[in-house]
Symmetry: C2
Subunit: 318 residues, 2 copies
Amino acid sequence: MDVSEHELLAAIRRVLSGTGPGVIVGVGDDAAVVAPGSGELVLTTDALVEGSHFSRSTASARDIGYKAIVVNVSDIAAMGASPRFALCALTLSDVVDAPWVMELFGGMREACEEHALSLVGGNLARGPEVTVVVTVTGEVAPGRAVTRAGARPGDVIVVTGTLGAAAAGRRLASGRTPPSDEERAAILRHLRPTARVAEAGVLARCGATAMIDVSDGLTLDLARVCAASGVGARVRLADVPIGPAAGLGDALGGGEDYELVATVPDAAQAGAARQELDETFGVALAEIGAIVSEPGLLAVDETGAEAPLTPAGWDHFS
Amino acid sequence: MDVSEHELLAAIRRVLSGTGPGVIVGVGDDAAVVAPGSGELVLTTDALVEGSHFSRSTASARDIGYKAIVVNVSDIAAMGASPRFALCALTLSDVVDAPWVMELFGGMREACEEHALSLVGGNLARGPEVTVVVTVTGEVAPGRAVTRAGARPGDVIVVTGTLGAAAAGRRLASGRTPPSDEERAAILRHLRPTARVAEAGVLARCGATAMIDVSDGLTLDLARVCAASGVGARVRLADVPIGPAAGLGDALGGGEDYELVATVPDAAQAGAARQELDETFGVALAEIGAIVSEPGLLAVDETGAEAPLTPAGWDHFS
């Protein structure tokens, strides 16, 4: 780094949006002060670590900043909540320069503006690799948070959009041949995921009993819902929506899709949610199976034959 | 790491205190859900990075966890606010094992219990070095946050406790000879800092116009207050309270003391705060100078002679 922390902080303050709705004390004091919401407070933190979550050779600083916000917004959305404020703790290595850091903040700002949240504080430290840790606060009407623990036998399992493209895009991003249109779409899903905030609101209103975002892989994340709810799930493999350039393995265990998996009490509510998501956002909602009382995941093929489905996905320590 | 993320998360959940006051959904969902406070919401995030902020050869996992919480609580305190909830984003390297991580969480829990805050969520990632990023939320009565921007010419500058011992302790922690009692006290100040939460409340009630915690060094942090307030400061060097095993240089620019520097409108209010801090907490409050309208810091020696005082302290990128 060719600048002092003081100079960098001053530059960051210029790139940030400054005060936004509800911001009483923004970036630059010991802590930020914001107006409380009328609902319950929702809190989440998530990290992007160089070498583990991104490579500076395939992702731009802007992409990394954008994604660091989105992955947190997605966690807020998966509770049926609305994002409000963000904080960023940044660890910078010697190999990134001030313009790179400005671009990183530019990407964060872009994602914050898309989701109408304010970046109100942060911290800079120095380390061997770039690490971007973002915390996002959100708000949800009292008693209306949708946890992982409410799925009940008979519930219909639904998933927004398509799965697997982010994993395919992760592989394709380092490719040497120019990508096809389909491959380009997959790479974009990897670099610039979408957080389904409004879609989560629709699912919550349509009676979702449990919800999670697909960050680590459909089967791993669905298994978490089942474990928290004390139930199991039957997944019809042919109904799992597969994204561009992806295969079934990517869709089941690729991770980083940031689509929502939810359980709703019956087909009528699933249908209502599907219609509203399609008409309002042009986003598909697939019914991929059902919750059952017996723990564990079962795969069902097109002949109706069942087989155990082993949860697979991104485990940072396996 | 010899365990999966799933196993580690399960073990962490056991070491955490679980649900506390106001916790609606704790660790283990996409995000935590907590009851909103009646006041304004205060937000801060701070990182401890291996090699930059700590060494595993001189600090135990428990020390590191404890300090990661305290440095954030100190930022909440410096706003005159009360800490409520904490989140932790942990990056782990291959060289630490599960018991080490459990101890780290044990230290975080210890600090959380001291300050009556609940650790409600977190994230695990893998990286080349251990990084502990904590976010703490707090609460302050509407309009009562004490920022850095309110210092006015004529205000008395006060500081809690003593300064410099943490910097001395940082040097002494890696020493090979057994430390003296004084040196041991300094090392403890480095490894186990104290966040002045109740003391900050006293200063706020006694009319503090600006406040900051001494994280990077007295002169650097005081210069930040002056810059934010558009004023300058005269510091009587002989009145700066110097901690165990420390020298004046440590006290002026050592950093990591986590004492409070505040400005109060007059000597009567400083005296009232001093008396209450002494009687209630046994904590000293020193008057070290005055705010002046001319920008910049001036050092005043015992003869009354003035000289420019260059802000010094911990700049991560200098």
